[in-house]
């Protein structure tokens, strides 16, 4: 296996596993979150590393990864944008927000489908996907860029300018 997990990350993962003394399998979510945070996405190598760590068959980890939209199986851009499309935001204009974000960031979403939710800009700076409710229904449309949260987004240029 060619995946290189830094020693301090592995140490953190090992520590996190100790929170689940009954079954290592229960640690699969926190372990995957830590790995995704570091590697930006969870590919086959990451899945197999996590499976070996937790003494599971890789399919049992893939089951979890493919269930949660929060886990990305494809590489995102340098800055990953998630636009809420649940009801309140959709009514407040999230589809329009998605369109203008794509236009300004140079992202082509024509290849996106259920199994490939992420589109990346040609230069690899930005990637974008729709997300379900980001829990701020009164201030839609909302989106997240990396771990930063933005409400009532209307100035797309200003937003993207922060991440250049």
């Amino acid at each position: 296996m060619s995946l290189e997990v830094p020693a301090d990350l592995e140490k953190e993962i090992d520590e996190r596993i100790t929170h689940y003394p009954v079954s290592k399998r229960s640690a699969v979510l926190p372990v995957l979150h830590l790995l995704q945070h570091h590697f930006r996405y969870v590919n086959e190598e990451v899945i197999e590393w996590a499976a070996a760590k937790l003494e599971l068959e890789p399919i049992k980890v893939l089951e979890v990864v493919s269930f949660y939209p929060g886990f990305r199986q494809e590489a995102p851009g340098k800055y990953h944008i998630r636009v809420c499309r649940t009801l309140s935001c959709a009514m407040a204009g999230s589809y329009e927000l998605m369109e203008s974000l794509c236009e300004k960031a140079g992202i082509d979403r024509s290849g996106v489908d259920h199994h490939n939710p992420i589109a990346v800009s040609a230069d690899g700076t930005y990637s974008i996907e729709f997300a379900e409710c980001l829990a701020s229904c009164g201030t839609g449309p909302v989106c997240m860029v990396e771990d930063d949260f933005y409400e009532s987004v209307d100035d797309v240029d200003a937003l993207l300018a922060k991440y250049a």
Binding site: E44, I59, E63, H115
Partner: protein
């Protein structure tokens, strides 16, 4: 008895042991509960919802109110719950009521069926499972008759090569997870799982992995629909055209109980048959698929052969073949004759061999041992199905131990005639051309063409395991019945008939007309069988001899039953 609880099922009171699953209780009293995901040998996740039934319990009195009074039988009136519960994962409780019929259950079954069929491709005309599909059966019995779903069906992977012997159609899958649980819990090779859970839930193997366990075909048996199908059987035959015969597997000493599906003298598939004392509900793929040679017209021996003066085999009638064999044998004294029989023969056939040997006063009777590695599941080290029969009926303590001395005796000119029954000496018993060269007479009987037959003066056509009836003793000492699936090709006879006819041609023996008659004699003459009647053996066999041998898979299953994980 405090271990029994009173349960009312469809208005009638019954008693069941504490801890009985509701679905098993219903089954026991003949109240059908349709189900997909439940299987008594696997854990119950309760995910298909097909077994929903109405449940009721004694009413709980309001604070201060008097509890309900039991009637003269001690039963309290049942207070029915407005919502249904699954019968597969819940257990019975005292004074519980279960309704498997009625408006509520009908409505929920219709609902579950409608949801299952919403995304089902309804491709029954090209589906192998048609005719034995639970989805088909239940939609006739419990479905609405028409769907209200007008939207686009979800597209999922089709014709997926999940393993060397299994093909997957994800659109047919109803997500019961029986296959996943089988691979996790029984086959210990958890390669299957659900990915993209949600409206796109997909049964999958991990990329780069394969469903290649030697028990993989059991998942196709378990699949209640046509999602997992056997590559070997796919598109070969409609299930309703085939005749089913219950018999036993002869690939090893386990003697797994099987059902053979055949049509017009051709075997199409073999499935394991439930026997909780032997193979549970399973069998290895390697044993299941080892039948194709039986159908091979090119290699089967279909008539008797005898060598002419130039040493070339000519087809002769069976009658002539026995006469020629007898005249050749009669030139030798008993101590110049050896018989090599087979531990693939039934007890009845071995009894006939013993009788023939006695008539000929043959010097040696021997069989050929066959061993391999035990797999820790159902395949035993002994690859002969009836070694215990050889020990018991022929009285050989160490089958195979005299093979070398037979070779020596031939070399030294002490044995001149050899009868090889149901064994290919060259391929399976380590005989060489040199070993056989010293013989004056070689008579053999085997189901298909083989090097020993090529060298035989007379070849008698003997049927294979699917073409004969009788009994065998497995490694556990269990007496089990082998049932004839079909007639052998051409003039093939059952091996016991071959031995009888040979002995008759030699001037001995008389009318034995069926394998059951032989069994009767066996029961009279062999102490281990004394008192056993053929008809008592039944489809599941009976324990006859205590050997202390166990089957690892069965032992693990017993453990899971004891832990309450499965019903068993």
């Amino acid at each position: 008895m405090s271990d029994l609880v009173d349960v009312q099922i469809n208005g009638e009171w019954h008693q069941f042991p504490k801890g009985t699953r509701m679905i098993e209780a219903c089954r026991e009293v003949g109240a059908e509960v349709p189900n997909y995901c439940y299987h008594p040998k696997l854990t119950s996740p309760g995910n298909c919802r097909m077994c929903l039934v109405q449940m009721g319990m004694p009413p709980r009195p309001a604070p201060g109110a008097e509890p309900a009074q039991p009637d003269e039988d001690g039963h309290v009136p049942i207070s029915w719950m407005p919502r249904p519960v699954i019968a597969c994962a819940n257990t019975v409780a005292p004074n519980m009521g279960i309704r498997t019929q009625g408006e509520l259950t009908e409505k929920v079954r219709e609902g579950v069926m409608e949801l299952m069929l919403a995304n089902h491709p309804l491709d029954c005309p090209i589906c192998d499972q048609a005719g034995e599909c639970h989805l088909q059966e239940y939609s006739v019995e419990h479905g609405k008759g028409e769907g209200r779903f007008r939207e686009q069906k979800v597209k999922k992977p089709k014709n997926v090569d999940v393993g060397p012997r299994i093909r997957l159609d994800d659109e047919r899958c109803i997500m019961c997870s029986r296959c996943i649980r089988f691979m996790d819990e029984v086959a210990d090779d958890p390669v299957l799982g659900f990915t993209d859970r949600g409206s796109h839930t997909t049964l999958a193997v991990y990329p780069g992995r394969e469903l290649d366990s030697n028990y993989s075909l059991n998942t196709a048996d378990l699949c209640p629909v046509g999602a997992l199908t056997s590559n070997d059987f796919r598109f070969q035959m409609r299930v309703w055209f085939m005749k089913e015969t219950n018999t036993i597997d002869t690939n090893c000493g386990t003697g797994a109980n099987i059902t053979v599906y055949a049509r017009q003298g051709e075997i199409f598939r073999i499935k394991p048959r439930q026997n909780n004392a032997v193979n549970s509900d399973w069998m290895p793929d390697s044993h299941r698929l080892s039948f194709h040679w039986i159908n091979d017209e090119e290699t089967r021996l279909t008539s008797a052969l005898a060598k002419d003066e130039n040493g070339n085999h000519q087809v002769v009638s069976n009658e002539n073949a026995y006469a020629i064999a007898a005249s050749k044998l009669s030139k030798f004294k008993g101590h110049e004759i050896a018989i090599i029989a087979s531990a693939r023969m039934t007890n009845e056939e071995l009894f006939m061999v013993k009788r023939l040997a006695k008539h000929l006063k043959a010097k040696i009777v021997e069989t050929v041992p066959r061993t391999g590695e035990a797999d820790g599941y159902l395949i035993s080290e002994d690859r002969n199905p009836n070694t215990l029969g050889v020990k018991t009926v022929l009285g050989l303590d160490e089958p195979g131990s005299q093979l070398e001395s037979i070779k020596d005796d031939i070399k030294q000119g002490q044995i001149h005639a050899l009868i090889a029954l149901q064994e290919d000496l060259i391929t399976d018993a380590g005989f060489t051309d040199d070993d056989l060269a010293g013989l004056d007479v070689l008579i053999s009987s085997y189901p298909s063409a083989n090097p020993t037959a090529e060298r035989s003066d007379v070849v008698l056509p003997g049927g294979c395991w699917a073409e004969k009836s009788g009994t065998m003793l497995n490694i556990q000492g269990r007496l089990q019945r082998l049932n004839k699936v079909m007639d052998g090709p051409g003039t093939t006879e059952e091996p016991w008939e071959v031995v009888r006819n040979l002995q008759q041609a030699l001037g001995g023996g008389n009318g034995i007309h069926s394998h059951m008659e032989i069994f009767k004699q066996l029961a009279e003459k062999v102490p281990a069988f004394s008192g056993v009647k053929f008809q008592d053996i039944g489809d599941l066999g009976i324990p006859l001899i205590e050997t202390g041998e166990t089957l690892p898979l069965l032992e693990r299953e017993k453990e899971r039953v004891a832990q309450g994980l499965i019903v068993g």
